[in-house]
C-alpha cells in the first residue's frame, strides 16, 4: 500500500474572471514522479505554486504530508515551504551576489542554520564540486540549474516541485539535469515536474495533462515506482540519501 503525500480535492484558483485552475483532483504517492503537461495558460504553474504553498487556492482542499495547507496562517505557510517542499525553477532564481555555495546555504539559513560542509556535499553530489565559489554569472545555465536543484534538496524536503526545470537548457545540460532527477526518483524522492517537453513527461510514473485549468488526461507510464526501486536499489530514506 503506497502512502499518499499529496491529496488535492477540487482545487480551484480564480484571478477575478480568469479561472486558472478549476476543480482539480490530484493524489501523489510518496516516491512517485508525476509530470504535469499542458499548453501555456493551462494552470500548470498555478497548480505547482499551490502545492508548494506559494499561492492559496480559491477553493478546494489540499493536504501535503498530512498537513492541511489551506488552514495554515501565512507564518506557518512559510515554515511549510522551508520544511516540506523543495523548489526548482526554470529561471533558476539564484541570488546574483552569492556564490554557488552561498546560494545553497541561503536555503539552510532560512530553514535553520547554514552548514557549509553540508552545502558543499550537496553541490558535489550534482557535480559542482569545482564550482563552489563561482557567482551565478560565472556558471553555465546547466550549472545554475544544478545549484538550484542542490538548493531545493539541501533541507531534505518531502516533496520536490520543479517548474520547467529543463526549459532553459541545451540538450547536453538537459540530459545532466534529467539524470539527476532520475537519481532522485530512484532514491525515493517524490517529484512533481511541470514541463512542456514530452520526453520529460514520459520519464515520470504518471503524466497529467491540464487544459483551461482542468485535468483532461491522466495516464500512467506503466512503471510502478515501488517496483522500479525494488529492482534498481535498496529503498533509501529520502532524508539520508544524497541529492
Amino acid at each position: 500500500m503506497t502512502e499518499t503525500i499529496v491529496r488535492a480535492v477540487k482545487l480551484s484558483r480564480f484571478y477575478g474572471e480568469v479561472r486558472a485552475l478549476e476543480g482539480v483532483d490530484l493524489e501523489v504517492a510518496r516516491g512517485e514522479w508525476v509530470s504535469v503537461m499542458g499548453p501555456s495558460g493551462s494552470g500548470k504553474t498555478t497548480l505547482l505554486n499551490i502545492l508548494g504553498g506559494l499561492d492559496r487556492p480559491t477553493s478546494g482542499q489540499l493536504h501535503v504530508d498530512g498537513t492541511d495547507v489551506m488552514a495554515l496562517p501565512s507564518k506557518e505557510l512559510a515554515r511549510f515551504r522551508r520544511e516540506t517542499v523543495g523548489l526548482v525553477f526554470q529561471q533558476f532564481h539564484l541570488v546574483p551576489y552569492l556564490t554557488a555555495l552561498e546560494n545553497v546555504m541561503l536555503a539552510q539559513y532560512f530553514h535553520s542554520m547554514a552548514d557549509e560542509a553540508e552545502a558543499r556535499a550537496a553541490l558535489e553530489a550534482v557535480g559542482l564540486g569545482e564550482r563552489l565559489h563561482h557567482l551565478p554569472a560565472q556558471l553555465s545555465g546547466g550549472e545554475q540549474q544544478r545549484v538550484c536543484i542542490a538548493r531545493a534538496l539541501i533541507n531534505q524536503p518531502r516533496l520536490i516541485l520543479a517548474d520547467e526545470p529543463t526549459g532553459n537548457l541545451d540538450a547536453a545540460n538537459e540530459e545532466i539535469v534529467l539524470d539527476i532527477f532520475r537519481q532522485l526518483h530512484a532514491q525515493g524522492h517524490t517529484l512533481v515536474v511541470v514541463t512542456h517537453d514530452a520526453r520529460v513527461g514520459r520519464l515520470a510514473d504518471r503524466l497529467i495533462t491540464l487544459e483551461h485549468g482542468r485535468v483532461v488526461r491522466a495516464e500512467s507510464n506503466g512503471h510502478d515506482p515501488r517496483q522500479r526501486l525494488a529492482v534498481s536499489m535498496p529503498v533509501p530514506e529520502p532524508e539520508t540519501a544524497l541529492p
Binding site: 506559494l54 512559510a78 541570488v95 551576489y97 552569492l98 541561503l106 542554520m113 547554514a114
Partner: protein, 390 residues
C-alpha cells in the same frame, strides 16, 4: 549570524554605487548634526561673546544716586556725583564667572564753552575692547588734556544745531567748580547712545579734574549668559559689592537669549531639513532596490524565509547606509565646526564627547525610519507572482 553577515556584505558590494549615493545624502545631514553637536557646546559662548560687541548687560552703581544718566532706550538710572565706587573694589568683578569685561565711568557736570555739559570719564581701553561699535573720527585721546566729543555735543557746543561743528584739533574750555582747563578735542565720537551728547575723556583725567581719584560712578559689565543666567552673575556681583546696586539690563539679556535660541533653532531646523532630505533619498533608494530585487525577495520567501528575516536583511542594509553616512558625516561636521569656529568666532573647537555617538545615533534612527516603508513593501511581495516575473 556569520552567514547573515555574508549575505549583507555581498548585497552591499553588489549595490555599492546606489547605496553610496544614499550614504552620501545621509552624510550631508549627519554633517550638520555633527557640526551642531560639536558647535553647540561652544556656540553659546561664541555667540554670547559676539553679542558682547553690542554692549554691556549689567550696570553697577552706587547706592545713592542723584543724577540721571542715559538717554533714549539706554536708561542707566541715576548716579551720584557724590556717592561713588572705589575703583580698587572692581578687581574682584573680573574674577566673577561669566564676566567678560567691564567699563568704569565717572560723570561730572561741567561747563564747556560756557554751557552746561556732561563730562564722562571712561576707561578708554576697556571701552574700545568691549564697545566695538564706538566710532571715532580722528583719534583716541592719549594725553591727559585730550578728549573725544560726542557728535551731537560737537554741534551744540559750537554754534547750535545748524552751524559748523567743533572739529578734531580744536580746544574747548571746560570748567568744573573753580577749576578751568583747556582740553583738546582729538576725535569725534559716535556711539548712538548717551555719549553722543557728552565730552568723553580718559577716566584718570576726570578723576583728577573732579578731585575723585580712584573713584568711579558707574560700571557697565559685560557677562556671558550661555553658561549661567545673568541674574546669577548679578547676585554674585551684588554680594561682592554690597554698597552698590547691581542691575541687569533686561532688554539686552532678553534679546541675547532670543538671538541665541534663534541661532540654535536655525541650525537645528536646517539639520532637520537636510536629514529629512537624506531620509527621503534613503527611502527612495531602498524602494528602488526593493523593486529591482523583488525576484530575489520572492525567492527568499519561496524558500520559506520568515518575514522578519527578510525585513532584517533590508533593515541591516539601511542601517549600514546610516552607519557609513553617519561616520563620514561626523568627520565632515567636525571639520565644519572647526572651520566655523576659526573663521567666524576665531576660536578653537574641541570635539564634543557625545558628537560621534550622537551623530551615529541620529543617522541610524533616520535610516531606520526611512527603511520602514521599503521594508514593508518587501514584506508584501507575493513570491508566486514575482517568480513568474510579474
Amino acid at each position: 549570524m556569520r552567514f547573515a553577515w555574508r549575505i549583507l556584505s555581498g548585497s552591499l558590494r553588489h549595490q555599492r554605487a546606489r547605496l553610496s549615493i544614499a550614504a552620501l545624502a545621509m552624510a550631508l545631514g549627519s554633517a550638520l548634526v555633527s557640526g551642531l553637536l560639536n558647535l553647540s557646546g561652544d556656540i553659546g559662548g561664541q555667540v554670547g561673546r559676539e553679542l558682547r560687541a553690542y554692549g554691556a548687560n549689567l550696570a553697577i552703581r552706587p547706592r545713592e544716586p542723584s543724577l540721571r544718566v542715559g538717554s533714549g532706550e539706554l536708561d542707566f538710572g541715576a548716579v551720584s556725583a557724590a556717592a561713588t565706587i572705589r575703583e580698587s573694589d572692581l578687581e574682584s568683578v573680573k574674577r566673577v564667572d561669566g564676566v567678560v569685561g567691564f567699563v568704569p565711568y565717572l560723570y561730572a557736570v561741567v561747563e564747556a564753552e560756557g554751557r552746561p555739559a556732561v563730562l564722562a570719564g571712561v576707561d578708554l581701553m576697556a571701552a574700545r575692547a568691549l564697545n566695538a561699535w564706538w566710532q571715532v573720527e580722528g583719534r583716541w585721546p592719549e594725553a591727559e588734556d585730550e578728549i573725544l566729543i560726542g557728535v551731537r555735543a560737537a554741534a551744540a557746543l559750537r554754534s547750535g544745531p545748524n552751524g559748523p561743528s567743533l572739529e578734531p584739533g580744536e580746544a574747548v574750555a571746560v570748567g568744573y567748580g573753580n577749576e578751568a582747563r583747556r582740553m583738546r578735542v582729538v576725535g569725534l565720537l559716535e556711539t548712538g547712545g548717551a555719549e553722543d551728547d557728552q565730552l568723553v575723556a580718559d577716566l584718570p583725567t576726570v578723576q583728577s579734574f573732579t578731585h575723585q581719584p580712584g573713584q568711579v560712578g558707574l560700571v557697565m559689565v559685560s557677562a556671558l549668559t550661555s553658561d549661567r543666567p545673568l541674574e546669577a552673575v548679578a547676585r554674585e556681583l551684588q554680594t561682592l559689592l554690597p554698597d552698590t546696586e547691581v542691575r541687569t539690563l533686561a532688554q539686552f539679556a532678553q534679546a541675547e537669549a532670543t538671538v541665541l535660541n534663534k541661532v540654535r533653532l536655525l541650525i537645528g531646523l536646517v539639520a532637520a531639513l537636510v536629514l529629512m532630505a537624506g531620509a527621503l533619498t534613503v527611502a527612495g533608494t531602498l524602494n528602488t532596490i526593493v523593486i529591482e530585487r523583488r525576484a530575489e525577495i520572492g525567492l527568499m520567501k519561496a524558500l520559506g524565509a520568515a518575514d522578519r528575516r527578510v525585513a532584517g536583511l533590508f533593515l541591516a542594509e539601511a542601517l549600514s547606509v546610516g552607519a557609513v553616512g553617519g561616520m563620514v558625516g561626523y568627520l565632515a561636521g567636525l571639520a565644519l565646526a572647526v572651520a566655523i569656529g576659526q573663521k567666524v568666532f576665531e576660536a578653537t573647537i574641541t570635539p564634543a564627547v557625545w558628537g560621534l555617538p550622537g551623530t551615529l545615533l541620529v543617522g541610524l534612527a533616520v535610516t531606520l525610519v526611512a527603511g520602514l516603508f521599503p521594508v514593508r513593501r518587501a514584506m508584501s511581495i507575493d513570491p508566486a507572482r514575482t517568480l513568474r516575473g510579474e
